[in-house]
């Protein structure tokens, strides 16, 4: 086990996979950084420090610094994949799916199906998502509910450095297109990371980060840690929480959710994306359809309100799910009847 930051788990996994497979290539805006400047290549090395040193190690053919052209980045990644490469495209901010969605949704996601299963499209699209930096409405969003709704894509949102390592390695080796969502507020999180080149985590297998029999709390990404804090607090009161880290929203580990709710009968789903047509609503519907008889209280969703993300500190704090809001929802289902 090595102690490592979330961002370093991203970088080291990319470097290891590039070393292992010469077909793995990286492209995106400023993935080299400093091209065409007095500072020269790698003067920056990616704004998230998730590509630092790759250019020097693997060269310009495999680390392709692109102009600010998100559609062309994703389209080029799709073309590289159809031609036999395994591209990792960095979209910088998840919010930029807006300018590249056709290439994600109508192209990359659909090639395999539209072409009758005769091709694979092994593209990884990495992007930083999430609020907490007062970056306002166009640089703070959680977009997994949009992308999870698109058949053909797999969607991954790790909540720890260890999961970054295992899930990103699976993503790079996967032959289908994978959206890899990295939470900005987790980049500096430190944690134990399993060693070895074969530590992979299969998609569609949730992680039980806390175990208990009284209530089920479901989340992933940054808010998973908030849920764990609530569970730890309630544990001191003798209340046991199952905390389920989904890890991937597509595929979704339905069995882990249903198995837990059948024991607890009480569930809170916590999500950073807007509420309408979202992941929390989707999971509540799943539970209603498959575990209705086990329910002791109505499933509760904790999400932001249906608004764009505000800028001011007070407003962003009020917007986001918090430990207090999650705790209140958990106590609400515990106190039902």
């Amino acid at each position: 086990m090595a102690q490592m930051m979330y961002r370093d788990a991203v970088l080291s996994t990319i470097a290891e996979e590039m070393e292992r497979d010469s077909n793995v290539v990286v492209l995106g805006e400023d993935v080299v950084g400093g091209m065409g400047t007095a500072g020269g290549p790698e003067a920056i090395g990616g704004i998230w420090s998730t590509s630092t040193g790759l250019f020097g190690k693997f060269g310009k053919d495999r680390v392709i610094d692109t102009p600010i052209s998100e559609s062309a980045i994703i389209g080029a990644a799709a073309g590289l994949a159809l031609a036999g490469k395994r591209p990792i495209a960095e979209l910088m901010f998840a919010d930029f799916i807006g300018v590249s969605l056709d290439q994600i949704w109508n192209q990359t996601a659909k090639f395999r199906y539209m072409f009758g299963g005769k091709t694979k499209c092994p593209v990884v699209i990495r992007m930083a998502y999430g609020a907490g930096y007062n970056a306002a409405a166009q640089h703070s969003q959680s977009v997994h509910q949009i992308l999870t709704g698109m058949p053909g894509l797999k969607v991954v949102m790790p909540s720890t450095p260890a999961d970054v390592k295992g899930l990103l390695r699976t993503a790079i080796r996967d032959d289908d297109p994978v959206i890899f969502l990295e939470h900005k507020a987790l980049y500096a999180m430190s944690g134990e990371v399993p060693d070895g080149p074969d530590h992979t985590i299969p998609f569609g297998h949730a992680r039980l980060s806390r175990a208990g029999e009284d209530v089920t709390i479901i989340s992933s990404g940054l808010l998973l840690g908030f849920c764990e804090a609530v569970a730890d607090k309630l544990a001191a009161e003798g209340i046991g929480c199952d905390v389920i880290d989904l890890r991937t929203t597509s595929p979704l580990d339905e069995e882990a959710i249903i198995d837990s709710v059948e024991v607890t009968g009480r569930v809170v789903v916590v999500d950073e994306a807007p509420p309408r047509c979202g992941l929390a609503a989707d999971i509540c519907a799943l539970i209603a359809a498959r575990a209705f008889a086990s329910l002791k209280a109505p499933p509760q969703a904790v999400t932001p309100p249906h608004t764009p993300i505000p800028f001011a500190r007070e407003l962003e704090s009020a917007y986001l799910p918090s430990v207090d809001k999650i705790e209140a929802a958990v106590r609400h289902v515990l106190g039902w009847r």
């Binding site: 492209l27 102009p67 389209g75 799709a78 159809l82 395999r112 005769k118």
Partner: protein, 327 residues
Amino acid sequence: MQLSREALQRAYRQMKVIREFEERLHLEIQTGEIAGFTHLYCGQEAVAVGVCEHLGSEDKIVSTHRGHGHCLAKGCELNGMMAEIWGSREGLCKGKGGSMHIADIDKGMLGANGIVGAGAPIAVGAALSARIDGKGPDGFKVAIAFSGDGACNQGTTFEAMNMAVVTQAPCIFVFENNHYSEHTGVDYAVGTAKDIASRAEAFGMKVWRADGTDFFAVHDTMREVLAFVRAGGGPAAVEFDTERFFGHFEGDPQRYRGKGEIDRIRETRDCLKNFRASVTGAKLLTDADLDQIDRQVLASIDAAVVAARAADRPTPEDVLADVYIAY
């Protein structure tokens, strides 16, 4: 460069296959037997064939919604295409794609595309792959983005052209100016005085222009373009002036056409007629040679339609197949 008798026969046959494929679809669609939207390539055959006759299977092309010609010219199998358009599970895409999504990756045909302008970035990616693979004995493999005068107005096309120049990808942007983006004239929709090549030039590319209804002009131009790009000269663009004999889609009433326009272009701008006049005039091939090809092609189209009609239909279970490799 003078082409061999065999090369001339092959080029004519390829163009004739596309022509008769499309003419037959035009008739069959009117019976209601074929589902969905179909966009015919008739009139532009010299471009697809004049370009693709220079390519090998490791060279890639990315096509458009008007893609049948590019597919056939790049080597997609006739019966598989017809079966796909009929929606059969024996089609090239097992009936999942249809006319607008025919692809054959093994042949280097990376897909027709229902989204205007979506193909150019994908071609840049395929060209970057060729750049990574490096030069072979004949230089770089190339990727070709076929686009129309409609797609030349899409931001994706601009992004792709700039990225190709910045990354020096061996990509060729082939613009087929058929004077209509859907139902709107090029005089209105293309701001650079109908001139598409100048846009590519402004992005820093070497460009060529030629008559897209003249197979020999296309073929000769592409020989130069490919020599430049394969040698590592960077991306390039070509604008071919061509004609679309049918509407934007089948069923288009074409009220935007001028009086007698279609008769005129069919009379004076038909690449097959012009090819025949040229090669028989120069005594390279005889009318009898070409008539024989015509008969063979018509028979092959008949056979493809018969086979497509008889081919297996997909089943409801097929809906769920091939969304993911593993999920």
